[in-house]
């Protein structure tokens, strides 16, 4: 059990976004979080990444309670994330974006850079090599020098995942990776995700609306509605589960 959330409750003013939710993700699993809009998926995500502090409950990662860590600290612990609306660094090239991910793996100090001492060159060369290898893995080498935000939507998503991988994570959080992609781009993406999961021994927690993508990707899913758990289990069972359908169909009822 690499990630465990116990009795998580989150209140914004009067609204209860998440109501006493508990679940766990096993190492090496691809775990899906699905549910209608406003079900609390992104809020849950932000609790894991410590951007939000939950009103009640515990977050345990690798058997360590991480509630009082800051967002940048948990990245060093091995939790990386991508954003729903791709947030690449617009003034930098694709290579530089990925190099940012490697930031904490280059241990040379500020003065060594300022005075160009040997360790600076040593690590910069090592970093550049690793970054190029990462780009190769994602087939982005030809775009290395290109400004990151000028790429196609699919490629930008790949850069964002490559950048997250550069932080050498154990758990990768993907926020609607397939959003806005056409079928063969989605296919291409799920193939890459499966490959990097095996190659880096990752655990993946993802939010997604595209049921076909969830079906062939996730080992397990948790379905949320109004911040409450209404189903946990295999995606194939979820589709036939009466409560899940009602929640989704219910969407039309509410409208």
């Amino acid at each position: 059990m690499i990630l465990e959330l116990k009795n998580i409750t989150m209140r914004f003013g009067g609204v209860t976004a998440i109501d006493n939710l508990s679940f766990g993700v096993k190492t090496g699993e691809i775990y899906g979080l699905i549910g209608p809009n406003g079900a609390g998926k992104t809020t849950l995500f932000n609790i894991v990444t410590r951007n939000y502090t939950q009103t009640e409950g515990e977050v345990i990662f690798n058997h360590e309670e991480i509630s009082d860590l800051k967002p940048d600290m948990i990245v060093q612990r091995g939790i990386a994330r991508t954003f729903q609306n791709i947030r690449l660094f617009k003034s930098m090239s694709v290579l530089e974006n990925v190099l940012i991910g490697f930031h904490n793996q280059a241990n040379y100090t500020y003065f060594e850079s300022m005075f160009r001492l040997p360790r600076h060159f040593l690590f910069e060369r090592k970093l550049k090599k690793e970054a190029m290898e990462m780009l190769e893995r994602f087939g982005l080498v030809e775009f290395a020098e290109v400004n990151a935000t000028s790429l196609s939507y699919g490629n930008q998503r790949k850069v964002e995942i490559a950048r997250a991988l550069a932080t050498n994570p154990k758990l990768l959080l993907l926020d609607e990776p397939a959003a806005g992609m056409n079928p063969n781009e989605t296919e291409d993406l799920s193939e890459i995700i499966r490959r990097i999961k095996d190659e880096f021994g990752l655990t993946i927690l993802l939010i997604e609306h595209d049921m076909k993508f969830v079906n062939n990707m996730c080992d397990k899913v948790l379905v949320l509605d109004y911040g409450e758990e209404i189903f946990e289990g295999k995606p194939s069972d979820a589709i036939v589960n009466e409560k899940v359908i009602e929640a989704y169909l219910g969407d039309f009822k509410h409208a």
Binding site: T42, N46, N51, Y52
Partner: protein, 297 residues
């Protein structure tokens, strides 16, 4: 420090406080709506004082020159928004701030070139500069008029904000300009209204400042403006009552603390910024403010 001197200083503190409050309201309204520190706001106060002086010395009766000054300040505020801020509505924050500083410098130096850097005597009419003698306490009449007028204006401003259609539009703009535009409200007109109200109050503040300290020069707006903004932040940026509260706290401290400990006189101008840093450390939203930081995730 006998009783009469104490009362004396209390009254002076309230008077200076209300002047800061009048200017702080303008800052807080513009920041509340546009998230912009209107650096030029302090200079709009100077424009108010100068235009009143110019009109008055050109023979126009004092009351009318005050109205002219308020209109001139409102016009300056609106033009500043139209020319410098509107085109940059969705530019990065840093460009807006630099433009605001540019406008501030433009106003200061323009008035310096046109009217010269010679400090001028601000002639106020008899009934405003009379000095009352209540027992041993000696009180210039402005020290009473200023807080009363400020209270009145605060009431009117709150009335407009909470009760009128435009007020509601202004308050809703504070949350999210794009969505407000979707609902058919002419956002730019409302923003213009905010600048007009803020500038008018600043002009009145400027004129009161010139009556109490009757020598005016083109650079008088800088320090007073900054202190008024610090007061707005201390009171809670975005909240009008907060701005007034902050203004009084600052005005009060400057007069009373220095009266008790004259050797601190030299540090009078630093109080505003010390307050500011303390507020940022312990309560960034200020006394009355709420967190305007919209969620980023």
């Amino acid at each position: 420090m006998d009783f009469s001197t104490f009362m004396q200083q209390m009254v002076n503190g309230i008077s200076l406080g209300s002047m800061y409050a009048l200017i702080a309201i303008g800052y807080t309204m513009v920041y509340g709506v546009l998230r912009l520190i209107n650096f030029a706001h302090g200079d709009i106060m100077m424009v108010g004082a100068f235009v009143a002086y110019l009109a008055n010395s050109a023979g126009v009766p004092f009351e009318i020159s005050v109205v002219i000054a308020i209109l001139a300040a409102m016009l300056t505020g609106i033009l500043t928004d139209k020319i410098a801020y509107k085109p940059l509505r969705d530019a990065p924050k840093i460009s807006l701030l630099i433009t605001a500083i540019g406008i501030s410098f433009f106003l200061e130096n323009l008035f310096n070139v046109l009217f010269g850097g010679v400090p001028r005597a601000f002639a106020a009419p008899e009934y405003l500069t009379k000095i009352l003698h209540l027992g041993s306490i000696v009180i210039p009449v402005t020290v009473i008029i200023v807080p009363v007028v400020t209270g009145l204006l605060l009431g009117i401003t709150l009335l407009i904000l909470n009760k009128t259609k435009y007020g509601m539009a202004i308050r809703s703009l504070a949350f999210d300009i794009p969505t407000v535009k979707l609902m058919g409200i002419n956002a730019d007109f409302i923003i213009m209204l905010v600048f007009a109200m803020g500038s008018a109050l600043a002009a009145i503040g400027g004129i009161f400042y010139a009556i109490s300290y009757p020598s005016i020069d083109p650079l008088m707006g800088i320090l007073v403006g900054l202190k008024a903004f610090a007061a707005a932040v201390v009171g809670g940026i975005g909240s009008v009552t907060g701005a007034v509260l902050g203004g009084f706290i600052l005005g009060f401290t400057e007069i009373v603390v220095v009266a008790f400990m004259p050797e601190l006189g030299g540090y009078k101008d630093a109080f505003a910024f010390v307050f500011l840093i303390l507020v940022l450390l312990f309560r960034p939203t200020g006394i009355m403010g709420q967190d305007l930081e919209r969620s980023r995730f």
